[in-house]
């Protein structure tokens, strides 16, 4: 794996750290360069001040040809320097008008009357420079750093004071500062690097999370990101919001697809059962009529008398089941009234008492509702009977019946066992039911009724409660 393919989790802190180190090095480096120049210049400036302070006396010495006087003058600071170096001056040389040594603080190194050029290449360059100086201070850098200060009074130049420094005269001061700066930089880095590391990790964390989730898209509905993964409004924030939206849409689509599959399945199942029920219903009518005729006109054959009632009961049971399967929406009915709903309450209250179930009943209907009373009552009875059974001993059942947004809204809710998800998937299919008491057709019939009335039914079950919501658009009764 190449360096640039590294995870952002590592790359961001690394880059941040590298940038900080680089910045620190660059800033410190340029500062140090500047400082070095400054120290060099300052020290030269100080040397020049020291030299200039000696100039007027040296002028007198030159006028009086007083070699010893000049020597004592220049050795005093040179001796002080030897005791405690502060100017980093190696020696002073006083030159006469002809740039020959008048006297030096190191006379054995620079003997009297030696020509300046004879002292070394740097000195030769200084001599050339002084020839054009016109009374200005000259600096020559080479093996030594030479400061040539003309000894001038009232426009007359009598000689030159040369202040000799070692080429690295500023090094001790510089090294002191270098050491101090290095420590400071180190401390700053020790503070900044963990901050950068922390910041980088924090920055990378949501991106890594997002990348992980994005690569899971296609394998199934994407998981939502944790709340407030990245709450800011920048481009990254937009990206997260876009992901959230996409994630939501994908989940909705997925849910819708499943819903549609389920609806298709239920519809196919409905058509199938309705078809079968019809096919059974037609001969069943004939059979019942035949049994009735036999009852009336058959002889007193004891076997026949014994079998016929059996036959009739069986056929009626078949008719009941087929009848249940054939939800006849178009069957003539009167419109629903609030009283119809209250009747259901009264009807089921007994069952609830029997089972010690507590009721919450809320019916806000008034007058007539243009929906077939029989079907709605059957629907409500199915749902509430289920609820009371599921709530069990000392359970609680809630029912709310109200008009909402031009629809009739029925809402039931009960305590009790949570319906497992795999059962939820097939909840409205016939003979699926979780209880042993019913026919296994209650919810199927409820679903068929809702479908035929053009409404919508939803079930929700979690954490010890189960709720059904039905919404029925108003139509003709």
């Amino acid at each position: 794996m190449r360096a640039f393919d590294l995870s952002l989790r590592h790359k961001l802190p690394l880059w941040g750290g590298m940038l900080i180190v680089l910045t620190a090095l660059l800033v410190t480096g340029s500062n140090l360069l500047q400082t070095r120049e400054n120290i060099k210049r300052n020290m030269l400036a100080r040397s020049e001040i020291l030299g200039r302070a000696m100039i007027s006396n040296l002028y007198d010495d030159l006028v009086n040809d007083d070699v010893w006087g000049a020597y004592e003058r220049i050795t005093a600071p040179a001796r002080a320097e030897k005791r405690q170096p502060s100017f980093q001056i190696q020696s002073f040389i006083v030159l006469d008008e002809n740039h020959a040594v008048f006297v030096s603080s190191e006379p054995r190194r620079h003997p009297l009357l030696t020509d300046l050029a004879g002292l070394g290449p740097d000195f030769a360059r200084l001599k050339a420079s002084l020839a054009q100086s016109r009374g200005h201070t000259r600096v020559v850098e080479g093996e030594h750093i030479l400061l040539g200060i003309p000894v001038v009074a009232e426009g007359v130049t009598l000689g030159t004071l040369v202040v000799v420094h070692k080429a690295d005269y500023y090094q001790p001061s510089y090294l002191r500062i270098l050491k101090r700066t290095a420590w400071t930089t180190l401390i700053i880095l020790l503070i900044l690097l963990p901050i950068s590391w922390f910041w980088g990790r924090r920055m990378a964390h949501p991106l890594v999370l997002l990348a992980g989730r994005m690569s899971d898209v296609g394998k199934g509905p994407p998981e939502p990101l944790p709340e407030r993964t990245y709450p800011h409004e920048d481009e990254l924030g937009q990206l997260f919001r876009v992901y959230d939206r996409m994630q939501r849409e994908l989940r909705d689509k997925h849910a819708m697809e499943r819903q549609m599959l389920k609806a298709d399945r239920l519809a196919a199942l409905g058509r199938l059962t309705a078809g079968i029920a019809h096919e059974i219903n037609n001969p069943l009518g004939g059979l019942l009529t035949a049994v009735d005729t036999l009852k009336r006109h058959a002889g007193p054959d004891p076997v026949t008398r014994k079998v016929l009632p059996l036959l009739e009961r069986g056929l009626i049971q078949i008719q009941d089941i087929v009848g249940a399967l054939l939800v006849e929406a178009r069957a003539k009915s009167r419109p629903l009234t609030a009283q119809d709903v209250e009747d259901v309450h009264t009807l089921l209250a007994q069952e609830a008492r029997k089972r010690n179930v507590e009721w919450t009943w809320e019916n806000t209907l008034s007058g007539e509702v243009p929906l077939p009373a029989t079907l709605v009552r059957q629907l409500l009875i199915n749902l509430l009977l289920n609820a009371v059974r599921a709530a069990g001993e000392r359970g609680h059942v809630e029912a709310r019946i109200a008009m909402r947004d031009g629809c009739l809204a029925l809402h039931t809710r009960n305590d009790g066992r949570t319906i497992p998800p795999e059962l939820m998937e097939h909840l409205f299919e016939p003979f699926t039911g979780g209880n042993e008491e019913g026919t296994g057709l209650g919810l199927w019939i409820s679903y068929q009724i809702v479908q035929q009335l053009g409404g919508d039914i939803r079930a929700d079950s979690r954490e010890g409660w189960t709720a059904f919501s039905v919404s029925l658009p108003l139509g003709e009764a």
Binding site: D65, D66, W68, Y71, T75, V103, P107, R108, L112, L113
Partner: protein, 281 residues
Amino acid sequence: MMSFLGLGLLPDLGLAGAGEPLRFGLTPIFLQERHALISELRAYLERKLQRPVSFQVRDSSHGILELMQRQQLDVAWLCDCPYVTTHPEFRLLATPWFQGRPYYQAYLIVHGQDIKTRGMADLKGKVFAYTDAYSNVGYLTPRYLVRQLGEEPNGFHRRTFFTRSPRKSIEAVAEGVADAAAVNSYIWETLQLQSPALTGMTRVAGRLAEFGFPPLVAHQTLSEKDFQSLRQVLLGMARDPAGQILLRQMNLDGFGDPSPAYYRNAEEMVRRMQDGRDAGL
């Protein structure tokens, strides 16, 4: 023979004019940076003379000579000035004895690493440090010797300069500012005892001449009585325990009566050099 040995007991008598100080002039070279010694000497003289003594120290012989001529000093002690012995206003008071004789020598000194120089002839074209123009050993003698070599003193050396004191001449040679200098043997030997590190950097390359040890001189205006009491105090120092301590510190044997004969060769040299218009005065 040391003449002061024959003197009688020193009269510890109060001298006339007890409030009037006896004014004493010195060049500092005798008692290099030794102020304690100067005050001890002064206390000694005050005790012996029973009158105050004031000391004036000047950097150069010239300064002391001026004060003498203006009668601001009664007595002067110049270590190396040939003019005091013939000066019409001055009287010879006492001659110090050094290393058993009333004489000192002119040392030609060079840097310790210079092992070739034997005499003045080797110093042609070199840098030479003079003491000052009033100095016998530090100025007149070397010029006189150059003249005797048949050369012109001005120009024989590549460069000459004045240091204004023999000690500084020794420093100039030790530190290499000058290649050579001529100094009073008394001063070199005394410094050898006091600061051997300094004299150790120089080498005595030759003994140029011998002269009478520079005397203490009194101004003619000093009363005979004061002159005599001071003379007796000085001559008696060698026999007085306190005086002996002082003399030892000054690296001298004692003081004796001066004899003009001691100074004849120096005076002769001065005369010859003046004839050659080279006295530097």
